[in-house]
Amino acid sequence: MDPIYRALAEIVGEEYVSDQPEELFTYSKDLGTSEPIQPDYVAAPKTAEQVSRIVRMANQKKVPVVPLGGGISLAGLALPLRGGITLDLKRMDGIIELNEKSRYIVVEAGISHGKLTSYLHRHAPHLMHSEPGAPPAATIGGNVVIHGQGDLAHPYGFNSDMINGMEVVLPTGEICRFGSCAIGSGWYTLHPLPDLGLFLGWSGSTGILTKISLRLFPCKKIREMDIFVVEDEELVPDILYELTHAGMAEDLVAWSQEIPPYGNRLHHININITGDSREEMEFKRHLMFDIRLARYIQDGVGGIAAVSQDIERPQISKSADWKKGGGFEYVGSIMPVSAYPECYRRGMEISIRHHIPYTILGRVIGSAHGMMFSYSYAFNRADPETVRQAREALHETDHMVLEIGGTIWKPAVYGQQLVMERMDPNTLQLMKKVKTLLDPNNIMNPGNWEVN
């Protein structure tokens, strides 16, 4: 019997390991435009200790290990580029501690956003975490590792800014803790100890997160989405500036898309507000619409399209549905909010060039300190030509993002290379040193963030 298979079976149990083609086939797929790549093995550990043993074994055998959460980051980030073991972390989905008064929850990293949301709904309805617009199977670990953002990004920033502590299995197998939990105290803060922030933004190539303490935030009783619309893209940064000054919103997302037609060449700004009473809600609406945005309305250049709309959670993008075949991938970019007009115009040009209805969206991060601006390209999975078109559009977008002064978020390998080509050489060398130090055998998700 294959010794790696045997070792894996011994660690996780026969039921949770496979080298069978039908399972490897499933794990070879990515939802986006990436070509399928099969791993040699799939293993689903249950504990950090099992992860650690697998990693130690992989170092001995010099076999790559690729951590996998929900597998829906769309950019092929969890595909086994050099084969090896795909480590499916979804069994590590426990809730370890909920501390209501200190507003944090400690979870295993493979827990899905959907499970966490429903757990909080049941056990701590006054609390919520920042949920991304991804399907609910997306994991907490997979999301913070790529610096995801969710529906509390406007008040509280990136999801990876909401970490109070974490446990990581290093590429050499040691289990390390960071934050107050590292000194045996509770999991309530990441600061003020020496900064060892080496694991986020690396697409799992510097270690495997196994536990995370996540900040929770007040979840108010009444939630609604209001919608403000403008035609002139140049107004969007101003309006977001006004709205972030008012500070009443919980989530701010500006979007424009060709299909359905009502969104075409218009900019919708979705404003989520919440409150514990009708009075609080009306106060917030008043401050935003009657005070900060009144002049746009009276000048006839902006208008309230709706108030009091129900908020779906998660608010999953539907842009894949507009083309037959149900596929889509997007380039996410982190941009200054002031770049919205240019992002929109350039994104639309690329879509037109590649015959794809344009779909763009920008979610405000912090008090308009930044914006995750996405350019989505739909394709028909059954039609390789449309997949090729979408891939080309994605690559062109990667270039464009950097050209206009943005940063690519969760870049695919193609985008990672573009980013590293532009990176300050000293920083790049430091990245290389860190990676070599942590992962001397280069087994951890190799091919990602690889400094040549």
Binding site: V229, P260, P261, G263, R278, I297, G300, V301, A305
Partner: protein, 346 residues
Amino acid sequence: MIELDFNEKKCLACKTHDCLTKCQYLDLDKDAAGMEMQKIIKGEDSHVLHDCVTCYACEEYCPMGNHPFYLIVSRQEALGITPLPEPLIKRGVQMGIPFRGDPEIEEVQGPVLNMGAFSDLTHLIQGKLFEGLTLISTDPRKMFHYFCQLMYLHYGRISVINERLGKIIQTFAFHNVNQVIHFHDECYGAYTSYAPAFGIHVPFQSVHFFEYLYHRLTTLKNDIQPLNFKVAYQRPCSSRLSSDKYAFVDKIFELIGVEHVERKYKHENALCCGGSILGQKRAGSRALAMELQRKNIQDMKQAGAEFCVFNCPACMLTMGKPVAENQIQPIFMSDLCRMAVGEKIT
């Protein structure tokens, strides 16, 4: 050339100018109203064109059978005085563009029920009240092929209605229908009020939804269990285009044994749900919409209404939630009628 048939002489001869003096959102006496109407007829600017909240009620108030509201909207467009900010107009106009292929047209026999642009409410049409009825526009992806376009009266865009309505009528004609029951007041108004006023030929006969319900209930009389509820009715703006059919509201209520509560904002004095006012350009429009809602619901409450009955999905969307928060149950008229004939509403 599609043009409004507005009888200026009749208007000038009017002794009351009820169109504007009865308006709940403007404050004009008879003389001022007469003067403003003259300006509007002549194509001159009038504050009415700016202050109109587009509630449609003047169509009903006019004692001369004229079309003051259609005239106001026509002039708003001609003079570039739009009630809404431009982006909302563009959004609304684009909303009505069908984009997912043509509908499958089948010839239908007998009367049909037209869901218009509310295909996603087709689930309301079930049970014995609707047995044997053919439905059209049941596919939300294709519903804009049946969209009566009258919504653009709120947008100061008569031209859009006139440009598109012919094509919509043609879609009905392809079905070879001769009698169409319209789920929404607005569709009924489009084919029985707007189209004749603009000389647009409609090759089918229209039936108001309430008239249909009333007749069906009459034939099912033996099945009716009086509901004994106290109800308020949220009369939609488009009901003003068919005020002759409004009487069916009370006829239905009587038949199913509910009490239409006496209140200030009833019948002719019904208040707008606020949906179309909310986004208007005029300073204070959003707050006005909220205030109207508050007054309206307060009025229902004071009158002891247990249910608020809707027919217009837009009114339901705007007011359903706040009504429910005030312990009054929002309900569609069709559901209320179904309850009366012993059916379970889910």
